[in-house]
């Protein structure tokens, strides 16, 4: 049931509507007016080898190696993986494990570099003239630079640029919605680096071979809209800037496609099925740097915000900068925060350890106070139905919650558990403050674990069967060898006996000689 909203009648552009969504206080004004600033070199840089979806990179350096800025230190392993480069010059002081920038706080393979302060560039990537480079080369360059989706999903960008091989693509959508509250890094990037960004978009459009390029920006960023409209030409493409309503989760890939094109991506499929590819605005900027200047992805703009931070700001920080250093650069914490987050308040990941580094997908570091989180006691569900109203996917979160709490995971999967995009609208709006999202996360994880366990059971059986077959083969071979040996022995004995008998009958006088022959 998604009747076109009343407001849609007055909307000037030909936008479509999406179901549900919420309007949290954006609180972007905390940091939206502070220009992107560079941060001084931190005293220590920790670069995790797993900053992307997919297999972790393989370390190429060892302890005490000297590395230069931009040097490849982690090599992509497998098709869905990304290269890792040294963010600055210095000495590798450890190649081991360190706490991941993740709520679990589990260790993750990490290269620790002590910067030498000189920030010396090593050889850059070979530059490319995108105007006449073939699309494959652009994609290869993007892969070489280790660029991943910088909106938070961290899917290797080059893989998405190569979708052209499998699908008929016609539209590139640049996601500048930035629907998460607080975050302003994409907003600032579009305002300050519109020209470079447009160039990056043009390069990506060329790599994808699309005809249409749309830049989607939420209506609460008028300056960014204006800047992008000013720089709307690149590599022969005209960028169409479209203003989308300020509504969470507008930045969700499939929902953005729906609102701009009116087409709904089928469940469990890629938007490429519709001929549409979505890339983040920050990714476009990284592509520009990689292709035009040969700079790999070693830094990104991070919004440091929240009322717990003294001086909220947008900072261009090196990948691997510890969160504590970022906070210190922003005047430190005004008070002990209720929640320390990487990412936005709706989908961000809480962290405990402040020494964890920021990674390629970190778009924000937020220190939220109790007044901002509005954490309250959990009450029973009163079936108010708000979660159903706001769910952009059309699920019934309260029902999922009830089923999962009753350990009916299969039942939950049947009513759409795996379609959940974990946007958090349901938990945000729940008057009883039920942790719907965490329950759903738990169920998804548990189901995946059960699946992998089942897989492992089969694997075990396969291994055991293989071993049994091998042992049997070995035993068979041994038996055959024994039999052959036995047969040989018997044959020999027989021959000997025959020979002896012959010798006895034919030449008894020659016996000693023959005897000597027979015993070698």
């Amino acid at each position: 049931m998604s009747l076109p909203s009343f407001a849609a009648l007055f909307r000037p552009s030909q936008l479509f509507t999406i179901r549900g969504g919420v309007h949290p206080e954006t609180r972007k004004s905390l940091s939206s007016e502070s220009a992107i600033e560079d941060m001084p070199l931190p005293s220590l840089i920790r670069v995790p080898l797993q900053q992307h979806i997919g297999a972790e990179a393989e370390p190429l350096v060892q302890r005490d190696d000297l590395v230069l800025k931009g040097q490849l230190i982690g090599k992509a392993r497998g098709p869905v993986s990304a290269n890792i480069h040294a963010p600055t010059s210095g000495r590798v002081i450890a190649v081991g494990h360190f706490t991941a920038p993740h709520p679990s706080g589990l260790p993750v393979p990490t290269i620790t570099i002590r910067p030498d302060g000189e920030d010396r560039w090593g050889p850059r990537l070979a530059r490319l003239r995108p105007e006449d480079a073939p699309p494959e080369e652009i994609a290869a360059k993007v892969a070489e630079a280790g660029i991943v989706g910088m909106g938070g999903a961290t899917f290797p960008a080059a893989v998405k640029l190569n979708l052209r091989a499998k699908f008929d693509l016609h539209t590139l959508i640049i996601n500048g919605a930035e629907c998460e509250p607080y975050l302003t890094c994409d907003d600032r990037l579009m305002r300050e680096r519109a020209e470079e960004l447009a160039d990056g978009i043009g390069i990506m459009a060329r790599a994808l071979g699309v005809q249409r390029v749309i830049v989607a920006i939420e209506s609460n960023k008028p300056q960014a809209i204006e800047a992008m409209q000013r720089h709307n030409r690149a590599l022969g493409f005209t960028l169409r800037v479209k203003v989308v309503p300020t509504q969470y989760p507008m930045g969700s890939e499939k929902h953005l496609v729906k609102i701009l094109t009116g087409k709904e991506t089928p469940a469990r499929a890629l938007t490429a099925e519709l001929g549409v590819v979505v890339h983040n605005a920050a990714t476009a900027y990284a592509v520009h740097l990689a292709v035009r200047y040969g700079e790999p992805l070693i830094s990104r703009v991070v919004t440091v915000s929240g009322r717990g931070v003294r001086r909220p700001a947008n900072i261009r920080a090196l990948i691997g900068t510890p969160v504590a250093d970022l906070l210190a650069h922003c005047g430190g914490l005004a008070e002990e925060p209720e929640r320390l987050l990487l990412g936005g308040p709706m989908m961000g990941q809480p962290i405990q350890n402040r020494r964890v580094p920021i990674v390629k997908g970190t778009n924000g570091v937020l220190a939220l106070t109790a007044g901002e989180t509005r954490e309250r006691d959990v009450m029973p569900c009163i079936r108010c139905g708000l979660c159903v109203q706001v769910c952009p996917v059309g699920l019934t979160p309260f029902e999922l919650n009830a089923r999962i709490q009753a350990d009916d995971l299969q039942g939950a999967a049947k009513v759409g558990l795996l379609d959940c995009i974990a946007c958090g609208c349901c938990s945000y709006t729940c008057p009883s403050n039920i942790s719907l999202v965490q329950t759903i996360h738990f169920a998804k994880g548990k189901l995946a674990e059960e699946e992998s366990r089942k897989h492992k059971q089969e694997e075990t059986r396969r291994l055991a069967a293989a071993r049994k077959a091998r042992e049997e083969a070995a035993a068979e071979a041994k038996r055959q060898a024994m039999a052959r040996r036995k047969a040989e022995m018997e044959a020999k004995k027989k021959r000997e006996a025959e020979a002896a008998a012959q010798a006895q009958t034919a030449a008894p006088e020659a016996e000693p000689v023959q005897h000597g022959d027979a015993t070698p």
């Binding site: 959990v378 994880g445 075990t460």
Partner: protein
Amino acid sequence: MIHAAVSMSALGLGLGLLLGLAARRFHVETPPIVDEIDGILPGTNCGACGYPGCRGLAEAMAEGSAPVTACPPGGRDVALQLAAIVVPDADPETALSGMAEAEPTVAFIFEDHCTGCMKCFKRCPTDAIIGANKQIHTVVVDACIGCDACIEVCPTEAIVKRVKPTTLRGWYWTKPQSAFDADSRENAA
């Protein structure tokens, strides 16, 4: 009065007899479940159950002399599947009583103690130990089923069982417990 009692008793007796006869007449031979059980067991013949191989356990379980929870490497999942065959009428949870959802374990080799004797290498039912003669062995965590077979054969006691380390990929959020549930349970206790 007596009339009624007698007729009811006669009726009961007659019907009971009929039921008894019917049970004899329509008796269905339960199919042998040994093969079925054997198909569910991991088939590694690791010996962790104390029976001679997976087949031995399957026979014991079919007789009823071994519980459905007898296969430690199989864990809860296997036990649940077995319960469905061996005791189909019982509630699976009660059949599994005493078998907590144990965390999966794997073998771990202390490299300082390992002499590279190849004993564990030969014994491992899933080929989860790699190494060569006179070289330190390592456990492939993904293939190890935590069956203890290697621990028994190790001459230098260099192998221990550890809880399988959680990886970033395998980690997931815990199930949130609603505050009022916890409170009410406390009050009730």
